[in-house]
Symmetry: C2
Subunit: 592 residues, 2 copies
């Protein structure tokens, strides 16, 4: 059975030696001292590895079952959910007045990586609730907040997000679900929503559905979409639960993975709903949470890569097969462990160098969310808004690829379900799709985020990279191994941006045909930047006489691997981008 | 439900306009006139799309069930197997004297792509039988051939290959299964084999297991391995079936995909076996079939990419979502079809340009198998031996990636099982693992095939590329769009080979750390070569006044896409290779 070990040490390194959270001037960050975050991560790690991880394969093999309108979650999920609630893990970063812990988002993200890595399907029940609660927190009336938030913060009630319909996903303007005003401030919501994660299950007393719908007579298309609160059970004025609302689960989808989460077709038959935020401003309400939600999905990509890597390493050390070509390394055994073989190393180093770079990138993004939300820092908001599609798209694409590499280390044992490696790949696959398919992330990046604010965030990004290089190029080792490759990769990114500027005006397809490659090119530059910064931190620790020299030397070697072996991808992406729209758009549709 | 359309037209183009099979001087090729191959492919295509394809999702959802030692295949499989037998599709390229059709392997490969594309799990029952029959054909005594081949050629009896044991897959020298001589020419075979495809099922009267085992007292390790014929039911002298042999299925594995094929744990408890070939020469016997078997797996990678692509194209044309950024293309509909969006095009062109290049590469490889086996052409044997790991490794890695791209076109609908896209990805995944995991293919390529025969085959490959470029560089259009990029990519491949030569002698890890990238670099150069040759053929057809100009213009545009958008990967692989062993091998094992 696969296992999960919380990467506490690496998270501590990122939080304190790279991001220096406890000395940052963001409100709430002064509490994030190393001892405190270590204690939180330690406890979260215990829950992850001891409770959630053993249930991961159970959830996969049992799945969720719909019987007579009731969804049964896999064996053990209810108990584990109780433990998560009792431990106070359901609302780390929600305000204390509603029962949250008011911790910074950056810490919630680190904890979230642990829970997702241990059991993605399970953690989604809490994650969706957190997303819905955040929407109510930002857009709800005081009454709505008082009615829903305390029970959602504790996960007594869970939440869902209802966007997709059978005929529309990305293009929500085509939505057919309608909400008829009833004159008493409430609405009757009617329509069908699909792919609703945690739409129905047996782990909560009530489920609070957030539903996008159109109010008849409103504007056409996406501008006529409003957001509604539709509880499964009506909530009485005293807070007790009333009668069942007109919403039900019609079907559970059979999926490639995340079987432990109930992905429901939800039928709304004149269900009572309450407007959340303003009429026809439903998309805006969704968008305010989008950075967080997408960063959360990027986190899932990293988390599955991490757990798959951990198990691949264990197997590579344990499985005896063949002999090292440079001479036997395990003379007493019948063969050497897999890890002696260079191609197994290549695979593990690809994984390790991605994971640690991605974790730094993710937590940097989360820190900027805090700077924006807690500190009102507009520059941080602009930067994280620019980088969000990169975090989501690049981390989930690469995260999935890494689970495939990890699975491959197991040979045939990776293909059978017994070892759990197949599940990591199947679960990781969804993150490339939901919360905006990665092609949509690339479109968002190139079509909206690059030109945003006159290009200010992207210029700020380049200035930051240049600034870091300039500031540190006196350090010869850092320059050669890290800054020079970063400079080269960053030039490729700039050249790609320049190509879009020069050609995209005349023909937007010239930019959009390269959008996906641009997202990956950008992702590599970000990870290159993270590695250069981590290398600097590791050098500083070694020069400062840190006792755990192996940790910092490993960090440097892993970073050098990324710069030498992964960053060369930027030239390829640039070449693809600079070939422009012609090769991509050449064929008439009927010739495909 | 997904569909499959046999790519007959494209296969005909490759067979007749690229490979010119009917005018080649290989024995049997003169029969391969265009009308004849068209008729064969047409009929095979009907069976594939009308019979095998509709059973693909059935096989996936039902899987195989073991009850009381008997394995039940999915509903409809038995009938379909009868149709395959009745149509004479089970032994296209086996000799007529044993009931085969004696057709060239190249045609069998084209037909095999169709069957695999329509239903990989089903086709494996026949494929494994073919492999086992080929081994008996080459290594069996006259009596063994007479006893087994006619029934295997007709698939009245099916076959299996038993190599892997729980503790050893790649490193078969660790094998524990033993075969005790009984003094009467037979052996008692005892041991456990795992991952045995089609090990037990209900579609054949008998199952002929080929089993690797050690004869006690023989040489240690891989040199003491022999190959045995172990029938499920003993065969009486008159050819009738006798008593059940001591072999049974202990378990069916739960797998990520190919659920329609029964992957069995096979227990041999003193089962009666007969030596096939010579004592202790079992691995050699396996190796003689290895090129074909591995090319057959490469074919599966291509086949899954093809069927996934076909369905992605259908969906992209059908699904209305968003508007073309350059102006509405479907004004009467609520939205434009997905295929108007540049990033969807990018994905479909990646798929299409891979698939058509891969098909040419595959059939060229199959043609060389014929040149070697039928024509005794040692140069062809050397070349196909060199390219086999590239065909297997590159086509299955890329084929899997393409199924992921195709699945992504469906958004959330790609993740649920209903549309069948998940199955294509899950089924394609195994091809990267079995018949030698792709890391082992890369090792074979760099460690064995490059130095083989003093490097003669790889030099011949470079000469061929250079020769083709030189011969055609007077053609300006061909030169700019195809020959120049091919020359550049080929230089990268040569530089990589040079790096291995200069550094691998001192330290073999310098070569092996780059072996995987070398396999991909080589694959891109091969597909670049195929595209350059196909472009030449397409130009010739257009200049010759071919009526179907759209087909040839599409061929040229698709080829240009490959050269511009995919070939730039070669520089990245070279950069990774030239970074050498240090970054890969830097960490002590305990630091992973």
């Amino acid at each position: 059975m696969p296992t999960y070990t919380a990467p506490t040490k690496d998270m501590q390194f990122v939080l304190h030696e790279l991001l220096n959270v406890s000395t940052a001037d963001t409100p709430g960050y002064s509490e994030l001292e190393a001892d405190f975050t270590a204690a939180v991560l330690e406890e979260a790690g215990k829950l992850a590895s001891e409770v959630l991880s053993p249930l991961n394969t159970v959830g996969d093999s049992e799945g969720c079952v719909l019987e007579n309108g009731v969804v049964r979650t896999p064996t053990g999920f209810r108990d584990a959910f109780e433990q998560m609630k009792e431990g106070g893990w359901t609302a780390l970063d929600l305000p204390e007045e509603f029962g949250g812990q008011n911790m910074p988002y950056v810490l919630g993200t680190a904890v979230g990586e642990m829970f997702s890595g241990a059991n993605q399907a399970f953690t989604m029940y809490q994650g969706l609730t957190h997303g819905a609660a955040s929407a109510i927190l930002v857009h709800g009336s005081d009454e709505q907040k008082a009615t829903y938030l305390p029970n959602m913060a504790s996960c007594q009630w869970t939440g869902t997000m209802n966007l997709t319909e059978p005929h529309c996903g990305t293009d929500l303007g085509l939505m057919r679900t309608r909400a008829e005003p009833q004159g008493d401030g409430s609405y009757k919501v009617t329509g069908q929503k699909i792919f609703i994660s945690a739409g129905e299950h047996d782990m909560a007393e009530n489920i609070i559905h957030l539903v996008l719908a159109k109010i008849p007579g409103g504007p056409e298309g996406i501008k006529g979409v409003s957001l509604f609160i539709v509880p499964k059970f009506m909530v009485n004025e005293d807070g007790s639960l009333g009668e069942r609302n007109g919403v039900s689960c019609g079907k559970i989808e059979e999926k490639m993975g995340i079987h432990g989460n109930s992905t429901c077709v939800m039928n709304y038959d004149g269900a009572t709903g309450y407007l959340l935020g303003e009429e026809h401003k439903g998309m805006r309400a969704m968008f305010t949470m989008m950075n967080e939600a997408r960063i959360g999905v990027g986190m899932q990509g990293l988390a599955q890569a991490e757990v798959a890597y951990q198990n691949a390493v264990d197997y590579a050390k344990d499985r005896l097969q063949g002999r090292a070509v440079t001479g036997t390394e395990n003379p007493d055994g019948p063969a050497d462990p897999l890890i002696v073989h260079p191609d197994i190393r290549r695979s593990l180093m690809d994984q390790k160098s991605f994971i640690e770079g991605a974790r730094a990138f993710l937590l940097w993004g989360a820190k900027m969310i805090d700077q924006s939300h807690r500190g009102g820092d507009d520059d941080a908001e602009g930067m994280v808004s620019l980088l969000t599609p990169v975090i989501k798209g690049f981390l989930t694409d690469e995260g999935f690829d890494m689970t495939i590499l990890a699975q491959q280390v197991y040979g045939g044992h990776g293909y059978i379900e017994e070892w759990g490696m197949s599940q990591f790949a199947r679960d990781a696959r969804i993150a490339m799709i939901y919360e905006g398919a990665n092609g949509v992330q690339a479109l968002d990046l190139v079509g909206r985020k690059l030109p945003q604010n006159g290009g200010k965030p992207v210029m700020a990004f380049f200035d930051m990279v240049k600034g870091f290089i300039k500031e540190n190029e006196g350090d010869e080792a850092l320059k050669k191994d890290f800054l020079d490759p970063l400079k080269e990769a960053s030039k490729h990114l700039q050249a790609a941006g320049m190509f879009f500027m020069q050609n995209g005006m005349k023909n937007p397809n010239e930019a959009l045909a390269g959008s996906y490659d641009f997202m990956h090119l950008f992702g590599h530059v970000c990870l290159g930047l993270m590695w250069a910064q981590m290398a600097k931190a590791a050098q500083a620790a070694l020069e400062g006489g840190a006792s755990d020299t192996a940790f910092y030397e490993t960090k440097l070697a892993t970073g050098r691997y990324y710069m030498q072996r992964r960053l060369p991808a930027t030239a390829m992406h640039l070449a693809r981008i600079e070939s422009g729209a012609d090769p991509v758009m050449a064929l008439p549709a009927e010739q495909f």
